[in-house]
Symmetry: C2
Subunit: 348 residues, 2 copies
Amino acid sequence: MQKLSFDHEPSPSEVLRALADWAETYPSDKYMAGELFDRLHLKLCTLLGKPAAQYVPSGKMAQMMALKVHASRTGSSRVALHPRSHMEEYEARAYHELWGLSAVQLGGYDRLPTARDLDAIKERLGAIVLELPLRRLGCLLPRWDDLRALADLARERGIAVHLDGARLWESQPFYQRPLAEIAALFDSVYVAFDKGLGGLAGGALAGERSLLDETAIWQRRAGGRALRSFPNLLAALKGLDERLPLMPEFHRKAVQLARSFSQIPDLSVSPDPPHANAFYVSLRGDRARAAQARDGAAAETGLWLFDDLVDSVDQSLVRFEVTIRGAGLSVDEDTASAALRRFQALIS
Amino acid sequence: MQKLSFDHEPSPSEVLRALADWAETYPSDKYMAGELFDRLHLKLCTLLGKPAAQYVPSGKMAQMMALKVHASRTGSSRVALHPRSHMEEYEARAYHELWGLSAVQLGGYDRLPTARDLDAIKERLGAIVLELPLRRLGCLLPRWDDLRALADLARERGIAVHLDGARLWESQPFYQRPLAEIAALFDSVYVAFDKGLGGLAGGALAGERSLLDETAIWQRRAGGRALRSFPNLLAALKGLDERLPLMPEFHRKAVQLARSFSQIPDLSVSPDPPHANAFYVSLRGDRARAAQARDGAAAETGLWLFDDLVDSVDQSLVRFEVTIRGAGLSVDEDTASAALRRFQALIS
């Protein structure tokens, strides 16, 4: 069965053998030190144009470490988050419950934050967090000038600017600028290895050396120093070599598929064209029949359209996300459109 | 070069290939679910005699999750810790800085805690933590009756009893009781995969189902839900199969070596005989010459005695830890004694 989104589930034994081949003669890491770390950090510094980078086994952990230090430096533990950001919606309020930070809302629930939104916040802030792309708005990205205006205003006010760049790799084609130029807008940058790069787990934090020196104690406190990290490190390095060059293709394929889907009547694609490698498909129909319709369309066309629906305020809409990675790259547009039309017929 | 303590450093490619062979046809885990998790959890429940177990990628995280829930249930965020426990000495006060708990001292710095120590604490406690063995006292273990008396008193007072069992596997031979009988003294049990079991990283928390249900949200908050954990899971399962049966041998070898070392004049071994698979060696000499002496003894005898010294209040003593795992098992006693005598001569 082909699937439209993400990657096909890996086989552990195949992945481990591929990593073993890739490992060559590298010695093992030990408690966050070793050649594999050095190589990964150097690569990230070069790509992101930052003086320092640090592997962290969890994205949540990486970002909270950064915010904690920004809060300590600015003297304010209040951070501005978008209400649909990953930190607000998916992390069980870890920023507060565990990390002792408080949040103020930056931007409206259904639109990207702007410099005007920040200007409207008059209380003191330790940091603002921007999620590029903002996944829960359909992987939406701000225009370059808007992004820069927002970051500049924060800087002027002495507020640290943090990038939730879990999908930064996937955002680069939209801006048509080097990753380092995007990263330069931010004081701290989080990138992930387990999403577009196809790694196993974890991510990294990049920024000034002094920032990373200061976050290290928090990584220790949070349990982020494993005895051995080499499987994750090797998978990250492999992803940077083999998958990072595919990001423009992921983007292009998403644009092509979205264009093809948008020809179907009574169906919308958003954003259109997609900004990153993902977009929302919304169509009229009965949500209660969607799972069965997905299975039916898959049986007839051989394409699995989505795993779960995305909620929609408009009860008459059925919505799902398409994310192009390894799986979607080999799906042809006619098959995809046929599957989607069949799905549409089955929920109508 | 042979070494006396721990395991020889692994080669990533060899470890990955061995895990690939071991993985057979298991499907990949995904965000903390899958057959590999089920198999590991079932195995731990059986070994530890607990209804539920949960893999956690970090020992610190596993233990703090448990303490946080004990604190919430008992209404007290104050926990009693031994002053030389791992939580006090090596975790940068994560229990307080990150997890919002406070600590009261249980027992003296240089001796094991007893029921009398707990009895002397009159304020309300959420939990007590016992580290078996207490590594910084030379991997010392309390006698069974003393351990039970302490746990019983805590239970009577409605205080949760948590086991820091990072080296529980290594402690079992001392008690000559099933692991489940030891674990039964505790409301929550942490065990490690990356120490005696020779795994890559992580550990597990075991206890009542309702406890584990309640700790889950904290694992999410702390960033303990990786996309893929299969390398660590496979290494843990392999360790339980292949290394757990070696624990009596590790213990026996430690006892034999300690007996042999204790024949050397002006040198002490503590505890004598060793309780677990580790002990301290203390001898008179010049600390400043210890590193060079270690290198010299290694060059002459082919045995690497230790990596780093352990501090000692008595400035005339040179002290190091011996931990018998894979490396030490194949070291013969005569070679070890010869290396130690040579070391002694070089620091005298």
